[in-house]
């Protein structure tokens, strides 16, 4: 069942790429939309069959592939990967839908987008470390080409920089996986949280360090972030949507699944430093965003700041904060996709993203009033205004992290305040005042006449806005898929630490603590425990009780 999520897009890639006769441009687009639509539909079907109460991996598929290498084709879905798979399918469809209909070389373009979709889905589903790495690398080439061929004026520079950074990230991750398997003496790369128990702490630190830098580049965390603003600025709108909405999540997912999931002991020791790193990333991203004059660059730096919250919550590793990480990934995916879509429309209509030039785009007659209104909603969501998904995710992150790292959490909350600062600057500069766009030739100031915005350009943004509100008002609809898994992740980490401390006690999968029997708890520095009491803000759905 899960394989379909990988092979449907690959089938689309094959059709688009290798169909012997020419295909009309509009048919290419339609075919890509159908393929992505089927994948999205399949994701919805999977979600409807997903058992929220089940802690273990679901829809397991396990085929031996290259046994001597320890590589097997092992896929499964749990509450952590389900939302990410869903947002991948959704944003791929939106990216294709919002692509320029007259784009040149459409067959290659849509094939590459579908290839990214397959690669990302595979990475989220893989239960084998080597398989994850293969999928992780698979999305790199198409993204490089998408920036290098359809990008802006400095696309060559940006694409190469992206390639170098992400390739280094891949090498580090591969090295960590090889090291882990080799040092633990395992013959298989299959994902197993108990793999690290026999390793001395020094080796764990080394491997975790490689993973942190590897995924830190992908997320990206300061100081490994410099590729991101360049890539965003040069990438076309749909590619930016995918990059911010989906691809960065590979980094945070990896951090959670492989960093926290495989190295709980080393993670717990480094956690305070990781939280401080998150603070640096959040504040650096936010302050740099304030200084930006390019709308896309501002949104890109805001991404860096907002991904820092995920690291903070991962470091805190309470059931609530881990739930917050998943929520933050989804919320950031939706919000940043929305913002990039809107900036894309502004750029397409005005020919500029310059905050020093653009003014008054909310003008009702000649500006972009609906796009402007959606932008106001988007930045409100990003700044964490209640009623929208950004509030829920940030609240979960801060509420979950505060008992563990109060100082770092408070400093990260400053970053939320700064979000309002830079996004108000953006909205105030470009959308209020007297309508002004860069002068085109001899055009006089008074005769600004922007081309009208078509509904096809508005619909994806409207759909994302609705989703942002729905999840903001009914977070329970997402929590119910995820909560069991994220809580178990923390419990497993705790169990793993305890069992390591018990000197040689070999835990097996039967040791997994059933969530019903033992409520998730995590010891706090002051000796208290923090329960995953989501009823504080999230209404529990019936199926969870």
């Amino acid at each position: 069942m899960l394989s379909a999520l990988i092979w449907i897009p690959i089938l689309g890639v094959a059709l688009l790429g290798f169909w012997p006769s020419p295909i009309a441009d509009n048919r290419t687009r339609r075919l890509a939309l159908i393929v992505a639509g089927v994948a999205l539909l399949w994701t919805i079907i999977l979600a409807s069959r997903f058992s929220a109460a089940n802690v273990g991996p679901q829809f397991l598929e396990n085929l031996p592939w290259i046994e001597p290498l320890g590589l097997s084709y092992k896929l499964s879905l749990d509450g952590l990967s389900l939302p990410l798979v869903a947002i991948n399918s959704l944003l791929t469809w939106i990216a294709i839908y919002s692509s320029d209909e007259s784009i040149h070389r459409p067959r290659l373009y849509y094939a590459l987008i579908l290839l990214i979709n397959a690669g990302v889905a595979g990475a989220f589903l893989a239960q084998n470390l080597l398989l994850f790495f293969l999928f992780y690398e698979l999305e790199l080439i198409p993204l490089y080409l998408l920036i290098a061929i359809w990008g802006g004026p400095r696309r060559g520079y940006a694409a190469t920089k992206f390639l170098i950074y992400t390739a280094v990230s891949g090498i580090l991750i591969l090295a960590a996986f090889l090291g882990l398997t080799g040092l633990s003496g395992s013959s298989s790369f299959n994902y197993n949280p108990l793999l690290t128990q026999a390793l001395p702490l020094g080796q764990q630190f080394l491997l975790l360090g490689a993973l942190l830098v590897g995924f830190g580049i992908k997320i990206p965390l300061v100081p490994f972030h410099t590729w991101l603003p360049d890539a965003h600025v040069e990438a076309s709108t749909p590619v930016s949507v995918l990059l911010a909405g989906v691809l960065l999540k590979l980094g945070t997912y990896g951090l959670l699944r492989f960093g926290l999931g495989l190295f709980p002991e080393a993670w717990a020791i480094w956690a305070p430093w990781l939280a401080s790193w998150a603070v640096v990333s959040v504040l650096y991203g936010a302050f740099t965003a304030i200084a930006q004059k390019d709308m896309k660059q501002m949104v890109a730096y805001s991404s860096i700041a907002h991904m820092g919250y995920v690291l903070l919550a991962c470091a805190a590793a309470t059931p609530l904060s881990i739930l917050g990480t998943v929520f933050q990934m989804i919320s950031h995916g939706l919000i940043s996709a929305l913002l990039f879509l809107l900036v894309g429309v502004v750029y397409k209509k005005t020919g500029s993203r310059d905050l020093n030039v653009l003014r008054g785009l909310l003008n009702t007659e000649r500006g972009l009033p609906l796009i402007g209104s959606l932008m106001v909603l988007g930045v409100m969501a990003s700044a964490g205004i209640p009623g929208m998904v950004g509030f829920i995710s940030e609240f979960l992150v801060f509420r979950g992290s505060f008992p563990v790292f109060p100082t770092q959490t408070l400093l990260c909350m400053v970053g939320t305040g700064l979000t309002s600062v830079y996004f108000l600057l953006l909205v105030n500069n470009t959308f209020f005042g007297r309508l002004t766009v860069p002068s085109q030739g001899t055009q006089r100031l008074g005769d600004v006449n922007l081309p009208p915005v078509q509904w096809v350009e508005r619909t994806p943004a409207i759909a994302l806005t609705i989703l942002i509100f729905v999840l903001g008002l009914q977070p329970g609809w997402m929590v119910r898929w995820t909560e069991t898994t994220t809580t178990a992740l923390v419990v497993n980490s705790t169990v793993a630490q305890v069992s390591t401390a018990a000197n040689g006690f070999k835990a097996d999968s039967a040791m997994r603590v059933p969530i019903k029997a033992a409520p998730a708890t995590r010891p706090l520095p002051n000796g208290e425990t923090l329960r995953s009491d989501l009823s504080v803000i999230v209404p529990r759905s019936g199926s969870n009780d």
Binding site: G360, N363, T364, E365, R366, F432, G433, R434, L435, R444, G446, D447, V448, N449, L450, P451, P452
Partner: protein
Amino acid sequence: MIKTTLRSSTHPLAAYIEQLKTGGGLVPDRPENVLEVVGILKSYGVVLEAYYKNLLYIAEHQFLELFPFFKYFNGEVSPAKLLRHWWHDRINFEYAEYCMKAMFWHGGGGLDAYLDSPEFRTRAQSVIQAKVQGNWLISGLNQLFPEFLPEQVRQFTYYSALGQFWRVMSEIFLTLSDHYDQGKIESIPQVVAHIQAGLVAAATLPITYAVTVRGQVYDIIPESVGLTFLPDTAVPYVEAVFFRGTPFLGTVSYNAQANQISPDPSRFNYGALYADPLPIGGAGIPPTLLMQDMRHFLPEYLHQVYRQNLRGEDDLRVQICQSFQKSMFCVTTAAILGLAPYPLDTADPEQQQANQSYFEQWMDRFLSSRLEDVQA
């Protein structure tokens, strides 16, 4: 006899002076401009007709009504009309009042001078006495604040004066449209000539104002005062509404305390010839009100042109404003030509020089106007 030739003007807008001297207008003579100007003046004529009727109704029937709840109803109050009013299916009569207040505030002409004269004061007092008779509250307040009601009367004279002015203008614009439909108008100079002829014909029309209180007629501006159409309403109107205006333009906020608005009203340049059409669409901005009203009465040939433009119906009101501005430059051309001190074809160098200086004075005022924009 020494023959001198007139030096050509060195004014930055000298090109327009030459155009005026040779019978051209401030708006380029192109068929599409003729269509736009006549089409918009047609809808403006219809709107002006509604405005002037309401202004005269208010001046005559809502005189010194301090709470004129139904002043926009022209005496026909019915539940259906009230519902339509609340639904905003109506003419924005507020715009007419806005122009009236601009005229009242900027003053100028014989009407302004008359309103400060003892004769006006005596006439105003007698009508006020008649109106407040038996109303103890208002009588008492009138004793306490003796300047309040006379000022209200002054305002009502402007309601009436603007109503009378627009009655003539509405007629001029509607006949212009009829002539265009009959194929008699084909160029911008013909449009200007039509307007100029209308203004000249009405130039000496007397401006009077009388109200009936308790069955007795009170003359507030009797004919004996000698106020006439051109110098006492048309010229002050052009000055107040076309040139100076009021600094409420919508998205641009002026801070008077920071001296962003000139303390000298004669240096104001917020009028129709300077107005930025882009803020149109904002709620309550006076130009938006007018464009909204004209939208209902666009002739089909003009509407068709607007629909074919880049944003079609989306920016209809901005397009209307741009056409309207062109038409107002035509009206201004007519006024400038009509008020020229000497005939344009004079051979006398002194007269030519005087005409030139006269035109240069106008051009000084056009420096920051939208004159260059309407050339496009």
